[in-house]
Point group: D2
Chain length 490, copies 4
Amino acid sequence: MNSENFSISEKIVSPSYIRQGSQARRSHEQLIRLLLEQGKCPEEGWSESTIELFLNELAVMDSNNFLGNCGVGEREGRVASSLVARRHYRLIHGIGRSGDIAAIQPKATGSSLLNKLTNSVVLDILKLSGVVTSCFVVPMATGMSLTLCFLTLRHKRPKGRYIIWPRIDQKSCFKAMITAGFEPVVVENILEGDELRTDMEAVERKVQELGAENILCIHSTTSCFAPRVPDRLEELATMSAKYDIPHVVNNAYGVQSSKCMHLIQQGARVGRIDAFVQSLDKNFMVPVGGAIIAGFNESFIQEISRMYPGRASASPSLDVLITLLTLGASGYRKLLAEQKEMYTYLAQELKRLAAAHGERLLHTPHNPISLAMSLDGLQTQSGKSVTQLGSMLFTRQVSGARVVALGNKQMVSGHMFSGFMSHSEAYPHPYLNAASAVGITRDDVTLCIKRLDKCLKSLRKESSARSGSPIPLTGQEDHAGEHVYKCNKK
Amino acid sequence: MNSENFSISEKIVSPSYIRQGSQARRSHEQLIRLLLEQGKCPEEGWSESTIELFLNELAVMDSNNFLGNCGVGEREGRVASSLVARRHYRLIHGIGRSGDIAAIQPKATGSSLLNKLTNSVVLDILKLSGVVTSCFVVPMATGMSLTLCFLTLRHKRPKGRYIIWPRIDQKSCFKAMITAGFEPVVVENILEGDELRTDMEAVERKVQELGAENILCIHSTTSCFAPRVPDRLEELATMSAKYDIPHVVNNAYGVQSSKCMHLIQQGARVGRIDAFVQSLDKNFMVPVGGAIIAGFNESFIQEISRMYPGRASASPSLDVLITLLTLGASGYRKLLAEQKEMYTYLAQELKRLAAAHGERLLHTPHNPISLAMSLDGLQTQSGKSVTQLGSMLFTRQVSGARVVALGNKQMVSGHMFSGFMSHSEAYPHPYLNAASAVGITRDDVTLCIKRLDKCLKSLRKESSARSGSPIPLTGQEDHAGEHVYKCNKK
Amino acid sequence: MNSENFSISEKIVSPSYIRQGSQARRSHEQLIRLLLEQGKCPEEGWSESTIELFLNELAVMDSNNFLGNCGVGEREGRVASSLVARRHYRLIHGIGRSGDIAAIQPKATGSSLLNKLTNSVVLDILKLSGVVTSCFVVPMATGMSLTLCFLTLRHKRPKGRYIIWPRIDQKSCFKAMITAGFEPVVVENILEGDELRTDMEAVERKVQELGAENILCIHSTTSCFAPRVPDRLEELATMSAKYDIPHVVNNAYGVQSSKCMHLIQQGARVGRIDAFVQSLDKNFMVPVGGAIIAGFNESFIQEISRMYPGRASASPSLDVLITLLTLGASGYRKLLAEQKEMYTYLAQELKRLAAAHGERLLHTPHNPISLAMSLDGLQTQSGKSVTQLGSMLFTRQVSGARVVALGNKQMVSGHMFSGFMSHSEAYPHPYLNAASAVGITRDDVTLCIKRLDKCLKSLRKESSARSGSPIPLTGQEDHAGEHVYKCNKK
Amino acid sequence: MNSENFSISEKIVSPSYIRQGSQARRSHEQLIRLLLEQGKCPEEGWSESTIELFLNELAVMDSNNFLGNCGVGEREGRVASSLVARRHYRLIHGIGRSGDIAAIQPKATGSSLLNKLTNSVVLDILKLSGVVTSCFVVPMATGMSLTLCFLTLRHKRPKGRYIIWPRIDQKSCFKAMITAGFEPVVVENILEGDELRTDMEAVERKVQELGAENILCIHSTTSCFAPRVPDRLEELATMSAKYDIPHVVNNAYGVQSSKCMHLIQQGARVGRIDAFVQSLDKNFMVPVGGAIIAGFNESFIQEISRMYPGRASASPSLDVLITLLTLGASGYRKLLAEQKEMYTYLAQELKRLAAAHGERLLHTPHNPISLAMSLDGLQTQSGKSVTQLGSMLFTRQVSGARVVALGNKQMVSGHMFSGFMSHSEAYPHPYLNAASAVGITRDDVTLCIKRLDKCLKSLRKESSARSGSPIPLTGQEDHAGEHVYKCNKK
């Protein structure tokens, strides 16, 4: 209510109470003022009532909510279903204009503010981990957002045909290159101890072989499933700079890890990183469907945002804004701290479990989120046991635990991947992945370990019933030495 | 509640009442059964309670809502804010998988059902107007969806560099081609009476000039602002077939018009239409951010859906499903009938108003949605008056009424458009656009006419105060004959 | 947002857009201002967004929503469940104080405003039908609210033991007297034509017999099931005045009928009405649980409100306020007009149906809401058929159609009612009631008639199968003459 | 979805996923089954999704939500505003019937289940603390619920005119007796140390003086503001039994305290307690407006429930059911444990603060919730300082901290209370109350102490500025000895 309405209210309810009510309102306004002024994620999270007050205020500024509006355009933010209107807080016009996804809409002042503030608050959070200059939220998942980056680069590098890509067995990022119309050049990883790491020599060889000017960009990855670990970003960034090749980083769920963010930070400091892309849902615990495109050069990031043709859904922006206002910077930091703590707990529990079953937690210290436990015993037992474990876990509502057997081959968009899912043509162990991602709870870990234990025991029983000779529970030899082994046979 | 729980309830509340309650539940279940079985938009709309019951049922099937789930993956559908969870009905996993936006997610059975059903229900609605074979909802607006179509075509036509595009002055669809990395070949329209129509000769000339194999596709448009009218789809489709060039139609807000849908239908019957793209928000009264990609060849539409790299937001699918279930097919047909009725009303009122102000309603019978009224008098009066009218309408909360002055030039992504916004290098009149789009009400029209009248009067007064000689109110000569006049001077 | 925040926003989004947004906000504020200033139901209903904005503003003023509040009392408006908080718009403190249900709470300025405004808006609506001086909403249904009125009167009439009550067969209002500790003196109705009407002579006889000073009050009724009709309020009010006996009217669902309201108006004008009580749910289409206590003497109504010991639920007040703001006075009048129209339609359809089945629509012109159709044929056929019809209708989801057989006896709180449910010891016909109450739709009537027709046909078939002689379908003699017949045999 | 719909879904999404979805649904159903079967508060709280699923299921069983219903009654659960419908989960029919607030409604099976289950779950929670036989939730606050108990007793004790009431200075419970039409007989408390306790001798004297048969009941109190402490329930219950006088306990916010519940338990074991009444909001953190009437004799509790004339709001029942399902028994126990812990913390902090300001935490070990700190210094300083402290705390958003000055007199419903608010005619100290009630947080305590400290300092400064002689900060003599002092001078 405005001051006039407060005054009138004093005739209905005693003035001193109204004054207190008005003062209470001001404390919400004050929070909103800080947000508008600084464009930063508030240190302490807001209450639901402040958030809803704020969203209502934004909605009131959009023309579809004007009490006296008459609309004679082809797009007036009309909504047929009140369920739909409500779930979007009556913010209907989306974000951006035909020209630019970051542009202001005359018809939708509130939605425009929402868009600007979301980008600003997200930038503030990215800055927690270093110098980022610019970013924007885009209502497309990581893969399509990478495609947009590649399409933007095409205009700057008309001769670019190839994208150098240290192998990671995840379809979206591979298809992102295909969709954009480029030819991915897969660089196999090398095995160092249990870890799969970037083969820098192979990368450079490819650059020289194909000719720098024919290469659109290097496309590297941070967050990934163990035993693959984040790419050697500093070295890749240095090489990018050396050969003047753009460098795009797939930082899918890396915002949640200070290690991944530090790698990007360092890469940009010592070499070249043009853009890095991260998923909203995986880092900020919102529904699937949005990403952040960020970089260190504001004008290039703006070029990407201007490349998006037309308006876009405000839904992912709204989700991440609500979430960050709810958590506050302190709440988000707390989540990150818990992710780290749970990583340690998960590692320790997996290690214990592995030992009890004659297996081994693979040693992948460079991967800050994902862990892998060998399944050599199961593999010995029967080829099928490994995949059977996967479906047993699915049935027992253990989600996200991924079982990787040896020897998969898969054709993806015309490219044959040997050893598919293992990021390597010949990884020496079958294994099981588990990750400590943001939002994981102690219960998740405990339950997973318990159920995994049961599944492994039950598989062993089955096997011993079949063969008569049970798999020994402990003492399995550690056959993965610390030598560097090249998976890439080319 | 399941039958067991109903039985137990009979001990608490009398069995005959519980039986009636259980029977009442069955009538909701019955509606859901029909939807699942037939995949069609129900004839009569559902109540909010059936819709929410159904959405809750879907949500319960997603792993993030499993009561006993433990998640150790990198993407578990966790949500930090309960405001966010609720507004998405706890459907968090989005739609699609890395491989395909139409694919089923093992972790998200409910969301997968939602996705399949939405596509099926939307297809049913598109079929109201003719034979469509396949379609899918994509959480990107029309422009980016067109880009996706072009990117898919690239893989089929590696030599394609050009896109033939009968001019329409709307940035998104132009940028869609640029973003996809192609060179738009702008074909100017010809003036027939007041209408701007496709110049078929010029199109064919361009095809021959550039060579069919170098042309990625023809990119035509249905819905547009008057005095431009929908492209000659039959002739373009025939030419596509003749030269074996793909044909993509931008049907942005054409679903609401039986004329536009009929054009597409006819085009596909007599010639070739590979895909047509339409906006969700403009046709179905949902928030901005989604589109439907549809076509007559299922396998090509699937190729496009497989081209989308990664998961995607379920939000636009959820919105359109809720909306169509709320409206029912009969409700949607009613909206379309109202659109037509309001078009007639708007035309009649604009005609009356134009006459009173010495202007003319341009004669654009081929445009079923948008209308244009000349502003010659204003132009004569002062160059600025036309644009001033625009801002006056904005201030008076008339949204969507677009004022087009003569002689704008604008550079869009490196291409200079003369006469920008008028779809023509030299349209003979400045004008004002108003559209009767789906959801428009009689009040919208009445208020718009009233305010427009005031603005025009006030501008005339101003002018007469300045010049001493008022603009005559009536009797202006009708200077737009029925002759065919080529705007395109090339 | 306050003006400061709008100013800051101008640095983010262009000032002219922000100004328009701010102006749009003012139009909501303006509506709120009018409400605060005049305390009247707005003529036109508010949009959901204005209503929610307003409720959020109220909530912000309650101490439980103060951002910096610390609470060390025994009642701090804490809420354990966010589902609960949200559904009450975070208005948790209820209404009233220990002293008075209409009092202002220092801890809850917003809730206090809500309470005052609700009473004021409801008063405004009651005034549509005449001069009412004062009223308040109480979160108790009609029965308990009547009890509160009687308890208040006790303090003014310590000798009062009896309540004179023209018979109406509805338990709540009877129990209201018992609960308050008084002895109901049941005055049987007289039959005039088909109608059961107040026996004024019997009332006066009772008053003289018991002695006016021993009578707490006369307790009359307006809205009731046909063939009973509203009491002769003018004559009862006149008698109240003559003997100086208070007069309380049970106007349960009479607000929706101008006839009932007019009766009260007239009663108060010519005689004495101390208070009249009406249900919120039955008149305003809100959930069960609230009532309005109203009267023509402000100080007596205040006495009642002060009699309520302690705080009370704000939920019914909130519901009725939301509803009246949504409808607006014009929307409410429209509902009342529809009620009348549907009454005529229902009467006509019942008459037609009755004729077809050899029955008769009872002639009860004084009852503006409820109608009754004779079931003499069914009764003749078999004693059970009448009750069977009731359960058939229940099973076929016809709700509210009440079947009244002859000869029921029932003991209610120690009083034996002969002919229970028929308001009379010996009504000449069994019958079926149907009512046209506010919110009824044409579909309700049509479906009811259709199903009733089927049930009657099916009962006749059954009977004719049993007896061999079918009940004739038409031509049944109209055996209820226009003579005045005394049901009351005393 | 029922099994048929799951089967059909298997044609849309792979059967194994649907099976998992169906199994996930069963786990929600299983929770609901347990609730229906056992009628107990679940040990672990339910998720919001289970709760909403359940409430939707209930709503579906009410006739107003039947898809094919036609209503021709006067009360059909129609709702004019969808905001209102939604906030009540479409449960519109309230609870109870004209006959009985606990009765089942044929039109509202879901609401009836809700009512039964709520009473059952609440009973389960009350049983945590001992043997209770029966209870029901009533949508009236404590005061009016007490009135209902007294009104019920009237029918059993027609000669009862007086209610014996050990003084507690709270208006609602006093007015509850007045409203019911009885004469409260106020028995002053006696001072034991700092505590005000029941004067058993005075009670017995009154009983003998008035004659047991003329006494409607004894009306005692548990939870109250220090320095009053809960009544001596065992002794009062014994006396009730001895003289055969009913005994009603006002247990307003005593459910949260095992001490209060134990007192009731003991009272009922050794003597007589007919009913005890507690507030929903104060004990269960729900909005104001409901109470629980409970007792050890099922048939008497039923008599009370049958005394309520008519239907009633389901809103308080819905709130408490949602809350208890959300918390679970374990969650509720946790809240109670925190209440105890915070009581200790508050006591310790107040003691520290008191010492620092030359005041004293009054020694009231029998009061498990409320504490009092003397304000002798302030009183000495100036008569106004004590009340000034109150308004300073109000302005600084310290809510619930109650300042009690000496010598207030107040007339309440015709009875003059000397020393009003202090439960005593001449309590020796002015004081400040603070309570540790359920839901209080550490922050509440810390902030309150901090602000209180500031206020006290600022008042001292003011005073010393006025007088020149500051109040000494420490070393004030402890003038409240352990002697028993009778406040009651009669």
